[in-house]
Symmetry: C2
Subunit: 456 residues, 2 copies
């Protein structure tokens, strides 16, 4: 198209400014789970709304929800062309353990080819590359397709108010396809397209055995210790084959077909390299499946946090009255998070020892989803990646959760194309999260090509 080369030239000419603006975005601590960062989340929303106005989007607004606001904007002046809903989230995870960060999580320090910050890769780098692709096109004239923006501020806490928001704005959000930028590639030089995402069901469990903490000498060995009971429960959540023991957990899981197992075998994977990236020394998981399959195609269950009793320095001979755990399951398509909660409750009824009471709370949830690998929107993404990276993308399943994908499939009947440039070793959700800066620039160019291809 007419704009393509000029847009690419614009993107290359404004690299430094784009990086500087990206770092401005990274400096805002938009941690959605912490009440003390609420104002930062709002400030980030305003900053992005201004970006959309600068892109000549219309109806730009910060739409309140019961939780954090949605930033919306649209440009619908390409009659006969498809309408693409561009999705991103502007919130980030907390930063603890803070003492393991080598630089300020919101300092956006550049070291070598990387910028280090909470949210650099997940996903401010991705959504901002898309915005800068739009700027590069807008500098040449009109957009080649119709676009709408849906930028949420609560993805990292499970998007509690997004289902209702979508339900009550179905017309506003109506589109032909979703471009979801919350995604990544295989490695620096190997593009990838994710066609399946896992869902999430996140729980908090409390056990209680006594009214107050007791002296371990006077009561130890004669009443239940809730930490022992918690340990027994957690140990019982997997069997010797690494399978989750919640009753019915695998009932709805689609078995992997032979042709898909073959496709997944083509995903580049080197065990030693993968372990180095994980900082671990051994693989472990469900028997009968490869690491790639375990992460992408099988549901899993992990304890994300566990605590109780005396956790300070030194020794205290206490028999605690309570034990706590945060436990989450990653789900595959067709598993229902609410059904998992039901299974968990049955498990607890069967397993919690006499003398101990329990309560279970579901923090957040979202279904898994699998997309059509042959749509025109998927094909354009593959071609754009091939143009910029010089090779065809790997098709793979992702172990993480992007609940919005399942929600939009369910509520609007549209598939999402996952197109983002995060790398597997960016350290998202952990200390020293980073974004590979050349990948950020390639992202801008890929998004330009993608919009060009969709408009032809």
């Amino acid at each position: 198209m007419a704009f393509l080369n000029d847009a690419l030239t614009h993107a290359r000419a404004h690299k430094d400014r784009h990086l500087a603006e990206y770092r401005e975005l990274l400096a805002m601590p938009s941690i959605s789970t912490l009440p003390e960062n609420k104002a930062d989340v709002e400030r980030t929303a305003e900053w992005l709304a201004q970006q959309l106005r600068d892109l000549r989007m219309e109806k730009v607004s910060i739409m309140p929800t019961d939780c954090h606001p949605v930033v919306y904007g649209e440009w619908l002046k390409a009659p006969g062309k498809p309408t693409i809903l561009i999705y991103g989230h502007y919130d980030v995870q907390p930063v603890d353990p803070l003492d393991e960060w080598e630089s300020d999580p919101f300092g956006a320090e550049i070291r070598g080819d990387y910028v280090f910050a909470r949210g650099a890769s997940d996903m401010k780098g991705q959504i901002f590359a898309q915005l800068k692709a739009m700027e590069s096109i807008a500098a040449q004239g009109d957009y080649p397709v119709n676009v709408k923006y849906l930028l949420e501020g609560e993805e990292e806490i499970g998007s509690p108010s997004l289902p209702d928001f979508i339900d009550s704005h179905k017309e506003l959000l109506a589109c032909d396809a979703v471009l979801n930028c919350d995604s990544g590639i295989q490695d620096k030089d190997t593009p990838a397209i994710i066609y399946s995402l896992r869902g999430l069901a996140y729980f908090e469990l409390e056990l209680r055995s006594a009214e107050k903490d007791l002296h371990s000498g006077m009561f130890g060995g004669a009443v239940r210790n809730p930490l022992h009971v918690m340990a027994e429960l957690v140990a019982a959540l997997h069997d010797a084959d690494g399978r989750v023991t919640l009753p019915g957990f695998y009932e709805k899981v689609r078995p992997l077909a032979d042709d898909e197992r073959e496709l997944l075998q083509r995903v580049p994977y080197d065990e030693a390299e993968w372990l180095t990236m994980a900082g671990a020394t051994a693989c472990f998981g469900e028997a009968g499946y490869s690491t790639v399959e375990r992460i992408g195609a099988r549901p899993t269950l992990e304890v994300n946090g566990m605590w109780g009793g005396f956790t300070g320095e030194g020794a205290k001979t206490v028999l605690p009255a309570r034990a706590h755990a945060k436990i989450s399951a990653r789900l595959v398509a067709d598993q229902d998070p609410d059904a998992i909660e039901g299974q968990f409750r049955v498990f607890l009824e069967q397993h919690v020892a006499e003398g101990v009471t329990w309560s279970l709370h579901q923090h957040s949830s979202g279904p898994g989803s699998t997309m059509d690998r042959t749509s025109i929107y998927m094909k354009a993404a593959g071609d754009a990646l091939e143009t910029v990276y010089g090779k065809q993308p790997v098709f793979r399943r992702e172990g993480g959760s992007v609940p919005i994908v399942g929600l939009l499939q369910d509520k609007l009947g549209v598939d999402s194309v996952m197109l983002g440039f995060a790398l597997p070793d960016d350290g998202i959700h952990g200390p020293n999260e980073r974004q590979y800066i050349p990948g950020f620039y390639r992202g801008i160019e890929t998004y330009i090509h993608y919009l060009d291809l969709l408009g032809r």
Copy 2:
């Protein structure tokens, strides 16, 4: 003896002042495990040294150790009479969870018949009652026996420097018997004498599976989760019969003889009442033993604290790199704490999963001990209690640890008489610790009678 009635009259006449001074002692937050309270610990030592000077003790001194100081004083002007070493500790446990206290832990608030404070029962109330018994006798003239005071400031952290202190002051501490005030009775109106104490071996265990915390979607289900491994370890520490599985744990444990089981059956015990006191709903412990036996005569192992991963509010989908636990065993006579550490290391070598590294640290330890129930010092204690309470004391084993008893048995060859007035429901080590004030006064009178009987 000549002084007895006058001393009792003195004690009764000065009740209010004794209580006021006791509350002054309770107001000092002498928490030995917290570095920030070091000055408070020292201040408490000075305050007690002044009490000893007021009692006309000689050689009163605050003797430094590698940890907290020992307060010493002696009066040796009763030739031909026994020498009694009076033991107490002036340090206290931390106060967390602070929000479960109904009044300031160092406010020493009086509500009804109780004074509420950290250390009120464990053991400032007991040692202070003994000091006020001494005051009541001193007001009449000389003491009926020779006395030495050994008041330590690190009992609640396992008395790390006391073994060396005793070794290097064997002559100074030489005595015929120890009066250990760190003890309690059966209930408000039923005196008791403890003739056996459990030892302690307190460990901290760290597991590590990765260099840093990981994203549970990208890595969950494919590498070891140290919280799962910790849960499996803790679950494996007991078998289905509630027995500890450390290899060789029970090897040195003396089986309970039939006559002693019979004696222990005489210890008043009402399950419903005991559970109410514990704030629990069910008993649980080693199969084949009663609650009284489980607590006093059998070794036990409890997790005192456990933590790892995300423990804040809300949800964070992290796969933690590390897991921690504080785990302590209560030991009976003849079990060696260092041998327990060896058993723990063998257990970990056998049980820790591939891909996980562990480290084990022993915080503190002390042996258990069993005393001669027929000595003249034990008999005098029984008679003093019977005089004040109007009934014979119960003889029982105690589940808690008073490591000094084993140390003095081992190093000086002397038995201790456990004579103190704490109640089982005083809530020691927990929130709202309290001392029954009438028991404090009865304690003063009992100590007066005890010294009188020893001097005859």
